[in-house]
Protein backbone atom coordinates (compact mmCIF):
# COMPACT_ATOMS: atom_id res chain seq x y z
CA UNK A 1 0.00 0.00 0.00
CA UNK A 2 1.42 3.30 -1.07
CA UNK A 3 1.37 5.96 1.61
CA UNK A 4 0.16 9.36 0.45
CA UNK A 5 0.09 12.55 2.44
CA UNK A 6 -3.16 14.45 2.61
CA UNK A 7 -1.78 17.19 0.36
CA UNK A 8 -0.93 14.59 -2.28
CA UNK A 9 -4.45 13.21 -2.02
CA UNK A 10 -5.87 16.71 -2.40
CA UNK A 11 -3.67 17.45 -5.40
CA UNK A 12 -4.81 14.22 -7.00
CA UNK A 13 -8.46 15.06 -6.40
CA UNK A 14 -8.05 18.57 -7.83
CA UNK A 15 -6.29 17.13 -10.89
CA UNK A 16 -9.17 14.75 -11.47
CA UNK A 17 -11.90 17.33 -10.82
CA UNK A 18 -10.77 20.81 -11.87
CA UNK A 19 -14.21 22.25 -11.02
CA UNK A 20 -13.42 21.79 -7.31
CA UNK A 21 -12.16 24.95 -5.65
CA UNK A 22 -9.59 24.57 -2.87
CA UNK A 23 -9.82 27.28 -0.24
CA UNK A 24 -6.88 28.65 1.76
CA UNK A 25 -7.96 26.69 4.79
CA UNK A 26 -7.80 23.50 2.72
CA UNK A 27 -11.54 23.05 2.25
CA UNK A 28 -13.00 21.80 -1.01
CA UNK A 29 -15.78 23.86 -2.52
CA UNK A 30 -17.83 21.61 -4.76
CA UNK A 31 -20.70 22.81 -6.99
CA UNK A 32 -24.05 21.29 -6.03
CA UNK A 33 -24.67 19.93 -9.52
CA UNK A 34 -21.66 17.58 -9.33
CA UNK A 35 -21.78 16.86 -5.60
CA UNK A 36 -23.30 13.37 -5.82
CA UNK A 37 -20.86 12.13 -8.50
CA UNK A 38 -17.78 13.55 -6.79
CA UNK A 39 -18.77 12.23 -3.38
CA UNK A 40 -19.36 8.75 -4.77
CA UNK A 41 -15.95 8.84 -6.45
CA UNK A 42 -14.29 10.06 -3.24
CA UNK A 43 -15.65 6.99 -1.52
CA UNK A 44 -14.99 4.48 -4.31
CA UNK A 45 -11.69 5.68 -5.77
CA UNK A 46 -10.11 7.59 -2.89
CA UNK A 47 -11.31 5.43 -0.01
CA UNK A 48 -13.13 8.05 2.06
CA UNK A 49 -15.53 5.49 3.44
CA UNK A 50 -16.75 7.32 6.52
CA UNK A 51 -18.92 10.41 6.75
CA UNK A 52 -17.77 11.84 10.06
CA UNK A 53 -20.04 14.83 10.16
CA UNK A 54 -22.63 16.60 8.11
CA UNK A 55 -23.90 20.04 8.94
CA UNK A 56 -24.91 23.33 7.40
CA UNK A 57 -24.02 26.95 8.05
CA UNK A 58 -26.21 29.96 7.38
CA UNK A 59 -24.22 32.72 5.65
CA UNK A 60 -27.34 34.91 5.18
CA UNK A 61 -26.90 35.13 1.38
CA UNK A 62 -26.50 31.40 1.00
CA UNK A 63 -26.15 28.19 2.97
CA UNK A 64 -22.99 26.12 3.16
CA UNK A 65 -23.55 22.42 3.55
CA UNK A 66 -20.44 20.95 5.14
CA UNK A 67 -19.34 17.32 4.87
CA UNK A 68 -16.42 15.94 6.85
CA UNK A 69 -15.07 12.76 5.34
CA UNK A 70 -12.54 10.40 6.83
CA UNK A 71 -11.10 6.97 6.28
CA UNK A 72 -11.35 3.91 8.44
CA UNK A 73 -8.01 2.82 6.95
CA UNK A 74 -6.00 5.97 7.49
CA UNK A 75 -5.78 9.35 9.17
CA UNK A 76 -6.82 11.55 6.23
CA UNK A 77 -9.79 13.86 6.52
CA UNK A 78 -11.50 15.98 3.90
CA UNK A 79 -13.77 18.96 4.38
CA UNK A 80 -16.22 19.34 1.54
CA UNK A 81 -18.38 22.43 1.35
CA UNK A 82 -21.14 23.10 -1.11
CA UNK A 83 -22.99 26.38 -1.50
CA UNK A 84 -26.73 26.29 -1.91
CA UNK A 85 -29.19 28.98 -2.75
CA UNK A 86 -31.05 30.30 0.27
CA UNK A 87 -34.39 30.35 -1.52
CA UNK A 88 -34.08 26.81 -2.80
CA UNK A 89 -31.81 24.92 -0.37
CA UNK A 90 -31.69 21.57 -2.09
CA UNK A 91 -28.77 19.16 -2.15
CA UNK A 92 -28.71 15.50 -3.16
CA UNK A 93 -28.90 13.06 -0.28
CA UNK A 94 -25.75 11.16 0.70
CA UNK A 95 -27.71 8.22 2.09
CA UNK A 96 -27.04 5.98 -0.94
CA UNK A 97 -23.28 6.56 -0.47
CA UNK A 98 -22.93 6.62 3.33
CA UNK A 99 -25.84 5.02 5.17
CA UNK A 100 -24.94 6.93 8.31
CA UNK A 101 -26.11 10.13 6.68
CA UNK A 102 -29.76 9.31 7.43
CA UNK A 103 -29.96 10.93 10.86
CA UNK A 104 -27.38 13.63 10.13
CA UNK A 105 -29.38 14.82 7.15
CA UNK A 106 -32.58 14.72 9.17
CA UNK A 107 -30.90 16.86 11.82
CA UNK A 108 -29.62 19.36 9.27
CA UNK A 109 -33.07 19.51 7.71
CA UNK A 110 -34.60 19.98 11.14
CA UNK A 111 -32.35 22.79 12.34
CA UNK A 112 -31.28 24.63 9.16
CA UNK A 113 -33.93 23.55 6.68
CA UNK A 114 -31.76 22.05 3.95
CA UNK A 115 -33.80 19.73 1.76
CA UNK A 116 -31.96 16.54 0.89
CA UNK A 117 -33.47 15.20 -2.31
CA UNK A 118 -33.67 11.42 -2.39
CA UNK A 119 -33.58 11.01 1.39
CA UNK A 120 -35.70 8.00 2.41
CA UNK A 121 -37.32 9.60 5.45
CA UNK A 122 -36.78 13.34 5.60
CA UNK A 123 -38.70 14.46 8.67
CA UNK A 124 -37.84 16.24 11.89
CA UNK A 125 -35.63 14.39 14.34
CA UNK A 126 -34.90 16.69 17.32
CA UNK A 127 -37.80 19.10 17.35
CA UNK A 128 -41.50 18.52 17.72
CA UNK A 129 -43.20 17.27 14.55
CA UNK A 130 -45.54 20.28 14.57
CA UNK A 131 -42.69 22.78 14.64
CA UNK A 132 -42.82 25.32 11.83
CA UNK A 133 -39.41 27.01 11.54
CA UNK A 134 -35.74 26.06 11.40
CA UNK A 135 -34.07 27.44 14.54
CA UNK A 136 -30.43 27.59 13.41
CA UNK A 137 -31.24 29.99 10.58
CA UNK A 138 -30.01 33.51 11.15
CA UNK A 139 -33.46 35.04 10.67
CA UNK A 140 -35.05 32.77 13.28
CA UNK A 141 -36.71 34.70 16.08
CA UNK A 142 -37.86 33.06 19.29
CA UNK A 143 -39.90 34.70 21.97
CA UNK A 144 -41.01 32.61 24.84
CA UNK A 145 -39.53 30.09 27.18
CA UNK A 146 -40.01 31.38 30.68
CA UNK A 147 -43.43 32.56 31.82
Amino acid sequence: MTVQTISEVKTEIIAKYPQIELSEAGHFFVPVSQLADIMLDLKVSFGFDFLTNLTAVDHVEHFNVVYNLSKTTGPEMLHIITKVDRNEPKVPSMVPIWGGAVWQERETYDLVGIIFTGHPNLKRILLDDNWEDHPLRRDFQWEGGRD
Partner: protein, 193 residues
Protein backbone atom coordinates in the same frame (compact mmCIF):
# COMPACT_ATOMS: atom_id res chain seq x y z
CA UNK B 1 -46.52 24.70 58.88
CA UNK B 2 -43.17 23.01 58.96
CA UNK B 3 -43.03 19.26 58.67
CA UNK B 4 -41.19 17.74 61.59
CA UNK B 5 -40.25 14.15 61.15
CA UNK B 6 -38.06 13.53 64.14
CA UNK B 7 -35.48 10.82 63.73
CA UNK B 8 -35.68 9.75 60.11
CA UNK B 9 -34.02 6.41 60.57
CA UNK B 10 -36.47 4.99 63.07
CA UNK B 11 -39.54 3.20 61.85
CA UNK B 12 -41.82 5.75 63.55
CA UNK B 13 -42.97 3.27 66.17
CA UNK B 14 -41.77 5.46 69.03
CA UNK B 15 -43.56 5.43 72.41
CA UNK B 16 -45.13 8.83 71.76
CA UNK B 17 -46.57 7.70 68.47
CA UNK B 18 -50.34 7.77 68.27
CA UNK B 19 -50.43 4.20 66.97
CA UNK B 20 -48.65 3.01 70.10
CA UNK B 21 -51.07 5.04 72.22
CA UNK B 22 -53.98 3.39 70.48
CA UNK B 23 -52.51 -0.07 71.06
CA UNK B 24 -51.94 0.67 74.75
CA UNK B 25 -55.49 1.94 75.12
CA UNK B 26 -56.94 -1.18 73.56
CA UNK B 27 -54.78 -3.48 75.66
CA UNK B 28 -55.87 -1.63 78.83
CA UNK B 29 -59.48 -2.07 77.80
CA UNK B 30 -58.83 -5.80 77.58
CA UNK B 31 -57.47 -5.69 81.15
CA UNK B 32 -53.88 -6.60 80.30
CA UNK B 33 -51.08 -6.35 82.87
CA UNK B 34 -48.65 -3.39 82.46
CA UNK B 35 -45.79 -5.82 81.77
CA UNK B 36 -47.81 -7.45 79.00
CA UNK B 37 -48.72 -4.03 77.56
CA UNK B 38 -45.04 -3.06 77.47
CA UNK B 39 -44.09 -6.32 75.80
CA UNK B 40 -46.86 -6.22 73.20
CA UNK B 41 -46.44 -2.56 72.20
CA UNK B 42 -42.82 -3.26 71.37
CA UNK B 43 -43.87 -5.46 68.47
CA UNK B 44 -47.53 -4.74 67.71
CA UNK B 45 -49.13 -1.45 66.75
CA UNK B 46 -52.77 -0.80 65.92
CA UNK B 47 -53.69 2.04 63.62
CA UNK B 48 -55.75 3.15 60.66
CA UNK B 49 -55.12 1.11 57.50
CA UNK B 50 -54.14 4.21 55.51
CA UNK B 51 -51.49 5.07 58.06
CA UNK B 52 -50.01 1.57 57.95
CA UNK B 53 -50.02 1.66 54.15
CA UNK B 54 -48.29 5.03 54.22
CA UNK B 55 -45.62 3.59 56.52
CA UNK B 56 -44.97 0.92 53.90
CA UNK B 57 -45.00 3.37 51.04
CA UNK B 58 -42.68 5.83 52.73
CA UNK B 59 -40.13 3.19 53.68
CA UNK B 60 -39.88 1.35 50.37
CA UNK B 61 -40.01 3.60 47.33
CA UNK B 62 -39.55 1.89 44.02
CA UNK B 63 -38.06 4.60 41.81
CA UNK B 64 -38.46 4.50 38.07
CA UNK B 65 -35.03 4.09 36.49
CA UNK B 66 -35.53 7.00 34.17
CA UNK B 67 -32.80 9.50 33.31
CA UNK B 68 -33.15 12.37 30.88
CA UNK B 69 -29.76 14.03 31.30
CA UNK B 70 -26.69 14.37 33.50
CA UNK B 71 -28.66 14.49 36.78
CA UNK B 72 -29.38 10.78 36.31
CA UNK B 73 -25.72 10.07 36.97
CA UNK B 74 -25.90 11.69 40.40
CA UNK B 75 -29.48 10.88 41.27
CA UNK B 76 -29.91 7.34 40.05
CA UNK B 77 -26.36 6.01 39.72
CA UNK B 78 -24.26 7.99 42.23
CA UNK B 79 -26.73 7.68 45.07
CA UNK B 80 -26.84 3.91 44.55
CA UNK B 81 -23.10 3.44 44.82
CA UNK B 82 -21.40 2.09 47.93
CA UNK B 83 -20.40 5.55 49.16
CA UNK B 84 -23.97 6.85 49.44
CA UNK B 85 -25.95 3.61 49.31
CA UNK B 86 -29.58 4.54 48.82
CA UNK B 87 -30.53 0.98 49.75
CA UNK B 88 -29.88 1.80 53.41
CA UNK B 89 -33.28 3.50 53.27
CA UNK B 90 -35.00 0.85 51.16
CA UNK B 91 -35.23 3.01 48.06
CA UNK B 92 -32.87 1.13 45.78
CA UNK B 93 -35.31 -1.00 43.78
CA UNK B 94 -34.99 0.75 40.42
CA UNK B 95 -37.72 -0.44 38.14
CA UNK B 96 -37.37 -0.52 34.39
CA UNK B 97 -41.13 -0.39 33.94
CA UNK B 98 -43.33 2.50 35.13
CA UNK B 99 -46.05 -0.02 35.99
CA UNK B 100 -43.92 -1.31 38.87
CA UNK B 101 -42.62 2.05 40.11
CA UNK B 102 -44.09 4.62 42.46
CA UNK B 103 -41.51 7.43 42.44
CA UNK B 104 -40.41 9.23 39.30
CA UNK B 105 -37.16 11.13 39.58
CA UNK B 106 -37.20 13.58 36.71
CA UNK B 107 -33.44 13.79 36.27
CA UNK B 108 -32.58 16.47 33.78
CA UNK B 109 -33.78 18.75 31.03
CA UNK B 110 -37.21 17.98 29.63
CA UNK B 111 -37.25 18.90 25.96
CA UNK B 112 -40.47 19.48 24.09
CA UNK B 113 -39.73 16.37 22.10
CA UNK B 114 -39.41 14.38 25.34
CA UNK B 115 -42.46 15.93 27.03
CA UNK B 116 -45.07 13.51 25.60
CA UNK B 117 -43.28 10.42 26.87
CA UNK B 118 -42.52 11.93 30.28
CA UNK B 119 -46.28 12.44 30.71
CA UNK B 120 -46.96 8.99 29.30
CA UNK B 121 -44.56 7.33 31.74
CA UNK B 122 -46.12 9.25 34.62
CA UNK B 123 -49.60 8.17 33.58
CA UNK B 124 -48.51 4.54 33.35
CA UNK B 125 -47.37 4.52 36.98
CA UNK B 126 -49.92 3.05 39.41
CA UNK B 127 -51.35 5.20 42.19
CA UNK B 128 -50.11 6.37 44.66
CA UNK B 129 -47.28 7.95 42.73
CA UNK B 130 -44.83 10.70 43.55
CA UNK B 131 -42.55 12.93 41.50
CA UNK B 132 -39.20 14.43 42.48
CA UNK B 133 -38.04 17.21 40.16
CA UNK B 134 -34.28 16.85 40.32
CA UNK B 135 -31.91 19.64 39.28
CA UNK B 136 -32.39 23.15 37.97
CA UNK B 137 -33.56 21.96 34.56
CA UNK B 138 -36.42 19.85 35.85
CA UNK B 139 -37.45 22.58 38.30
CA UNK B 140 -37.52 25.54 35.93
CA UNK B 141 -35.64 24.81 32.72
CA UNK B 142 -32.35 25.85 34.30
CA UNK B 143 -29.82 27.50 32.00
CA UNK B 144 -31.89 26.36 29.00
CA UNK B 145 -35.08 28.14 30.05
CA UNK B 146 -34.98 30.50 27.06
CA UNK B 147 -34.41 27.74 24.55
CA UNK B 148 -36.99 27.03 21.88
CA UNK B 149 -37.03 23.32 22.68
CA UNK B 150 -37.04 23.11 26.48
CA UNK B 151 -40.03 22.81 28.78
CA UNK B 152 -39.52 25.45 31.54
CA UNK B 153 -40.03 23.12 34.47
CA UNK B 154 -41.51 19.64 34.61
CA UNK B 155 -44.32 20.94 36.83
CA UNK B 156 -45.87 22.32 33.66
CA UNK B 157 -46.50 18.71 32.66
CA UNK B 158 -46.98 16.63 35.82
CA UNK B 159 -47.54 17.41 39.53
CA UNK B 160 -44.27 17.57 41.49
CA UNK B 161 -43.96 16.56 45.16
CA UNK B 162 -40.37 17.50 45.95
CA UNK B 163 -38.14 20.07 44.25
CA UNK B 164 -34.47 19.23 44.54
CA UNK B 165 -32.25 22.15 43.46
CA UNK B 166 -28.68 21.84 42.22
CA UNK B 167 -26.82 21.53 38.97
CA UNK B 168 -26.57 18.62 39.50
CA UNK B 169 -27.54 17.96 43.13
CA UNK B 170 -25.10 15.76 45.03
CA UNK B 171 -26.15 12.18 45.79
CA UNK B 172 -26.63 13.06 49.45
CA UNK B 173 -29.00 15.82 48.33
CA UNK B 174 -30.91 13.16 46.41
CA UNK B 175 -31.15 11.11 49.58
CA UNK B 176 -32.41 14.22 51.37
CA UNK B 177 -35.11 14.62 48.73
CA UNK B 178 -36.20 11.04 49.36
CA UNK B 179 -36.29 11.72 53.11
CA UNK B 180 -38.45 14.80 52.53
CA UNK B 181 -40.80 12.75 50.38
CA UNK B 182 -40.94 10.18 53.16
CA UNK B 183 -41.92 12.89 55.65
CA UNK B 184 -44.54 14.12 53.27
CA UNK B 185 -46.12 10.69 52.94
CA UNK B 186 -45.99 10.02 56.69
CA UNK B 187 -47.70 13.33 57.48
CA UNK B 188 -50.63 13.61 55.05
CA UNK B 189 -52.58 15.88 57.39
CA UNK B 190 -49.67 18.37 57.41
CA UNK B 191 -49.43 18.25 53.63
CA UNK B 192 -53.15 18.98 53.25
CA UNK B 193 -52.69 22.25 55.17
Amino acid sequence: MEITGGDNNSCNLQPDDEMVDETTKRLKRLGAEPAVIGEVTRTVAVGPLEKILNLGRANSFWPLGFGLACCAIEGLMGSNTARFDLSRFGYEVMRASPRQADVMLVCGTVTKKAAPFVVRLYEQMPDPKYVIAMGSCAISGGPFVDSYNVVPGVDQLIPVDVYLPGCPPRPDATIHAFMKLKEKILNPEVVKK
